[in-house]
């Protein structure tokens, strides 16, 4: 009897909720983990009445696999440039309806031009954030291991086995991102970081093999907390993630000081682009969402929170000083010149790169 009662209550509730649900406007967003001030989402919903279903990933590979399988159910996704270019070739994205993007004029030409390498004529994507892949380190622990003149501003720190040997005790993490570490190694060796030459890629892998015994883990998101807690002393990671670790450590007041350096030899500059899958169901809402993010005050709020630079020029006057004034986030002209970009690997080269990476990770 109780069950029957419950069941009928359930049916009534479902009937009442049904029509309301049908009218709810939704946008399904799939973005990187730790990559937004969640207030932005609630404010967006408050203003537009569009509910945001927000889901996160921590590697381009996961996003790409979902996108290539199709029917992801996502309306806005945020791949990085190199991955975006291949996904565009595979027909994953729809061309943006620029008529619905009134805030487009806020965007920064310098960034949009660089992105054209991946997205010709910027037809399919809008820049969300951009950043660099460099070195995050625990100031005191690195000093303890390597002395006062530790080469924290150089790739020597992580690519010279003698340095890594001493750092191993306090813990070193590398990103689990072959498409970023192989170019970093190539650049360190004085080669073209964007080389698709398989012999050169082999040499880069050899360099990584030399230091791998001293690497505790290859992972693309655990290092934020690990750095902040003092569990590790060095991470090859993404600029904003390291700076978030710096902030978390400062908030926790645990005597951990984290810093980020763009090594003097140069570093990868990457772009995370908002795009709409061709099979998205809420295309109108997706455009509204992207246009909202392009508002100067929203873009500034996002950058102030995640410590990544954005591609929105109009937002720059609204950024906090510790964001716009930090050369680790908005590098000066001299540093910017040393930043390099890469392109997607063709499938054959990709296999060599992945195999080399597996060799590096497993040590054989």
């Amino acid at each position: 009897m109780a069950f029957k009662h419950f069941a009928s209550a359930f049916v009534t509730a479902a009937l009442l909720a049904g029509p309301a649900l049908a009218q709810d406007r939704v946008v399904n967003v799939y973005n990187w983990s730790d990559y937004i001030d969640e207030d932005i989402l609630s404010e967006f919903t408050e203003e537009t009445g569009i509910k945001v279903v927000y889901d996160v990933f921590d590697s381009n590979e996961i996003l790409e696999t979902k996108l290539l399988a199709g029917s992801t159910g996502y309306d806005v996704v945020v791949p990085s440039g190199t991955f975006l270019s291949r996904q565009i070739q595979a027909g994953v994205f729809m061309a943006l309806d620029k008529g619905k993007l009134g805030n487009l004029s806020n965007m920064w030409d310098a960034i949009a031009e660089r992105v054209q390498k991946y997205d010709p004529e910027n037809q399919h994507s809008i820049n969300y954030m951009w950043g660099t892949t460099g070195i995050g380190y625990n100031v005191d622990k690195v000093k303890e291991a390597l002395g006062d003149d530790a080469p924290v501003d150089s790739w020597d720190l992580v690519f010279k086995p003698e340095n890594m040997e001493k750092l191993a005790a306090c813990g070193v993490h590398f990103l689990d991102a072959p498409a970023e570490l192989i170019p970093a190694a190539l650049n360190y060796l004085g080669e073209d970081p964007d080389s698709h030459d398989t012999d050169l890629i082999g040499k880069a892998a050899d360099l990584l093999m030399g230091v791998r015994p001293h690497i505790q883990k290859f992972h693309s998101s655990e290092y934020i907390n690990a750095l902040a807690n003092g569990d590790i002393c060095v991470a090859v990671g993404w600029s904003g993630d390291v700076l978030q670790a710096r902030d978390r450590a400062a908030e926790a007041d645990n005597n951990v000081t984290v810093e980020y350096a763009i090594p003097k030899e140069g570093a990868l500059m990457w772009f995370d682009q908002m795009a709409i899958p061709a099979d998205a169901k809420n295309v109108e809402e997706a455009h509204t969402f992207i246009d909202y993010i392009m508002r100067p005050e929203v873009a500034a709020k996002a950058s102030n929170y995640v410590y990544y630079a954005n591609g929105n020029q109009a937002s720059q006057s609204l950024l906090n000083d510790d964001v716009i004034g930090d050369t680790a986030i908005y590098p000066d002209a001299a540093t910017t010149e040393k930043l390099y970009t890469t392109t997607a690997y063709p499938p054959k080269v990709q296999r060599i790169v992945t195999r080399a990476w597996t060799r590096v990770k497993s040590g054989s």
């Binding site: 590979e61 399988a69 595979a90 505790q216 883990k217 290859f218 990709q350 597996t358 990770k361 497993s362």
Partner: protein, 301 residues
């Protein structure tokens, strides 16, 4: 008449289940394993185009390429992953048995009134998500984690042990996660044990330890076998535990498959890896089935 229909339906259900949830997905994976990668959605070329009729289908069948399987033998990564997975699963199974047996034995010997509670305690961890429980081990095993803090404050060690991100952590994770699958069949075998047999052994001059080895262990063999298979088979293909607790040198086929699928975007080769994994596991699965069948026949007879 109606009884017969009911019986057929009853037999049909498990077969339908197998067909829909095992055979159909397997055929799809098997088909993809003969394909080639492409920059497209989905990222491989179709093997068969059914719209072109039966003749074209037969022609495509004749053209089937085993390149992806050949590739698995060319690079020793795959064979090493399979072997390493089998090794890790075997060692974990043995440890689980050694840990699980005393637990099950204690439960079976406990006063009858306690048993439901003890049984409940074994099943209790399942109420929390598997993922969260594995994550909790990170907090226990890490350098500044609970285990190291406890050992240091007790004066057992001076320097924190590096356990997390090593194969040791993987063993701990697997043993912990699969322990209930070992304990439950052991318990059900040991609970059925007739206590008078042990008394008889003692009357005939057996020491308790010898009685354990000649009476208890052989009689609990069905439970040992069932428990070992229930741990071993899923442990071979385990992905989450080596991914979260393992280190960069932990090589398991689940991780290799993940890399093949996600990093290489090579669905055809990852499908071939999956098909081979199934073949590797079919041997223990068939052995297990045969054992179960014999067991049932013996119990029926």
């Amino acid at each position: 008449m109606e009884g017969r229909l009911g019986r057929i339906l009853l037999i049909l259900v498990p077969y339908l289940w197998l067909l829909v949830f095992f055979l159909v997905p397997f055929v799809i994976v098997f088909k993809i394993s003969f394909s080639e990668t492409a920059i497209a959605m989905p990222p491989y070329l179709p093997v068969f185009d059914l719209s072109e009729g039966w003749e074209a289908f037969k022609a495509a069948f004749a053209r089937l390429s085993f390149d992806n399987y050949a590739w698995l033998t060319e690079d020793d990564l795959y064979i090493r992953s399979y072997l390493s997975s089998l090794w890790i699963a075997s060692v974990s199974t043995i440890i689980t048995l050694m840990v699980g047996y005393p637990i099950a034995y204690g439960m079976a010997r406990a006063p009858t009134a306690w048993r439901p509670t003890l049984l409940m305690l074994v099943i209790l961890p399942f109420w929390t998500s598997f993922l969260i429980r594995v994550y909790a081990w990170i907090g226990i095993l890490k350098k500044e984690g609970l285990l190291n803090l406890a050992l240091i404050s007790l004066g057992v060690i001076d320097e924190p042990l590096t356990i997390l991100n090593t194969n040791t952590a993987v063993y701990i994770g697997i043993v912990y996660s699969y322990l209930p699958f070992m304990v439950l069949p052991l318990y059900s075998a040991l609970e059925k044990l007739d206590g008078s047999l042990l008394e008889a052994a003692q009357d005939l001059g057996c020491t308790p330890i010898k009685a354990f080895w000649v009476v208890t262990v052989p009689l609990s063999l069905p439970g040992i076998v069932a428990g070992c298979f229930l741990v071993f088979i899923p442990a071979v293909g385990e992905f989450v535990i080596p991914d979260l607790l393992g280190g960069s040198e932990t090589l398991m086929i689940g991780k290799t498959l993940w890399v093949e699928f996600f990093s290489n975007r090579d669905w055809p080769v990852s499908s071939a890896v999956a098909v081979l994994l199934l073949l590797v596991l079919i041997v223990p699965i068939v052995l297990f089935q045969m054992h179960q069948q014999r067991q049932q026949e013996r119990e029926a007879g």
